[in-house]
Amino acid sequence: MSEEKSEVKAIVTPTKLVYQFSAIGSHAEFLKAISEGKLVGERCPSCKKVYCPPRGICPRCGVETPEKVDIDDKGTVTTYCIVRVPSENIDLKLPYCAANILLDRSDMPIMALIQECPAEDVRIGMRVEAIWAPEEDWGPTMENIRYFRPIDEPDVPTEEMGDWY
């Protein structure tokens, strides 16, 4: 009776749910290729655009995309931002540059890191290439590409960037 109970304001209910994801079809083929240091995309039979990573379908046309296309690991920065705020599960030195990169032969940019140059030097139209992890560390994951870095090629003028400018 002597012990005073304080008012309950909150309870904590830890929850654990386990999900098992399977790589299927295009995903599986892409991951197999990247584990061998290659990038593979798919061309839409309808609009002819190339997607990398592929998803087995073209989101614009709503059709399956069976045709495989080899993709280069060089590309062009279409736009970017400089991250100056830490995030819970991202272990990178601030500031860093996250860019949308249109890989050569692909028609849709991927988002990736740019390193080996000051973040402030990144430009729209800048040419970049992938830097891969050491081969012995390769696995079935996008993380085989550690980041992109600038290459000594002239910037792509925005008018030549087509849809992405």
């Binding site: 749910l17 299927i24 087995g56």
Partner: protein
């Protein structure tokens, strides 16, 4: 009210684990199939609504990826309910009633195989008072079954008979997952899963997707075989199991009355557990000459977020096959039949 008809239905074969196609590929296949069968060009579809659950997929905004399977370009008028696809169809039906569109597509998808469904469904319970107890979906159903059995001399044999009939009916359903000839005696001799439920009283865990195209009377294309939605209504009950009589389903009864559920040849009931079919039959006043679940029902395939809309599709298939003229389709959501939808369908 405008007269609205179901023009077509498509579904994936229902499986314990879909290992060949991604969710978006499943969506693409059923949507393409349903639109083709409807006789309408895809560009004529005036509204699209889907049903799915983020928790089932294990990620936030899981339904956003499904848009990729629609070819939503040019942009489409579209909405999504975090509910079974049956309610997506209801929203689509409402949209046609407003006159803002004349045709609509409803679809749903669920891939329960990625997680552990009974534990995932624990997340559906009141997070302050029920969820922390750790009770899973089968245990919730078992509570309800016990309450039902303790009333009016109900027996486990009646429940087993539902399981036997469902899985026998499923033998004629190429898309069903769990089918076969079983014997009541043998089933009853097996151990309990969670007493008083045996394994046969419970639904399988299923991956699948389905799609339906509907149209107002003036937009039904020539050559179509429309199944008319004569009535559709849905109701919810309190969530706390202690707030209601678990042996009854007043929300189903009310929805059935509002939807005009009389003079029926068949009923497709979304009863994941055997005793729930018996509760639903009672609530809807279905007598013995109404054939129940010719497809095998949810005991033969129970894709979460999908199985309710499947009941509508399966009722249509009976009508299209000439085996029924007027049918009832029912969908449920939540634990112990908390929320229920009734739709009355009739051939042309």
């Amino acid at each position: 009210m405008r007269d609205v008809a179901i023009l077509s239905f498509a579904q994936t074969p229902y499986k314990r684990r879909e290992s060949e196609r991604t969710e978006v590929q499943m969506v693409l296949s059923v949507v393409t199939d349903a639109v083709e069968k409807s006789g309408l060009p895809k560009s004529d579809i005036g509204f699209t609504c889907s049903g799915s659950s983020d928790y089932l997929a294990g990620q936030s905004f899981a339904f956003v990826g499904a848009i990729d399977g629609l070819g939503a370009w040019p942009p489409i008028a579209e909405s999504h309910v975090e509910m079974d696809g049956a309610w997506a169809l209801y929203e689509a039906w409402i949209k046609i009633q407003t006159g803002m569109c004349n045709t609509a597509l409803a679809f749903s998808f669920g891939r329960a195989s990625m997680g552990s469904l009974p534990e995932t469904l624990n997340m559906q319970l009141d997070p302050y008072t029920l969820g922390p107890l750790g009770i899973d979906s089968i245990s919730m159903a078992a509570l309800q079954a016990r309450a039902w059995l303790d009333q009016d001399n109900h027996t486990e044999r009646q429940m087993a008979e539902v399981a036997v009939r469902s899985r026998k009916n499923a033998l004629n359903n190429p898309d069903a997952q769990l089918k076969g000839d079983f014997e009541v005696e043998k089933l009853l001799s097996e151990p309990y899963l969670i007493e008083p439920l045996h394994k046969h009283d419970c639904p399988p865990i299923t991956d699948g997707a389905n799609a339906v195209v509907i149209a107002a009377a003036d937009a039904v294309p020539s050559g179509a075989n429309p199944v008319w939605i004569r009535g559709i209504d849905h109701r919810i009950e309190p969530h706390q199991p202690g707030f209601r009589d678990l042996t009854q389903s007043p929300s189903t009864k009310l929805a059935g009355e509002k939807a005009g559920a009389t003079r029926l040849d068949i009923a497709e009931l979304h009863a994941p557990f055997t005793h729930q079919e018996l509760i639903l039959r009672d609530a809807l006043g279905l007598d013995d000459d109404v054939r129940i679940n010719p497809s095998g029902g949810a005991l033969a395939a129970n894709p979460m977020m999908v199985a309710g809309l499947t009941r509508m599709g399966e009722a249509c298939r009976e009508i299209w096959a000439g085996r029924a003229k007027r049918a009832l389709a029912h969908a449920t959501s939540g634990h112990c039949l908390q929320q229920n939808l009734v739709c009355v369908l009739e051939g042309d």
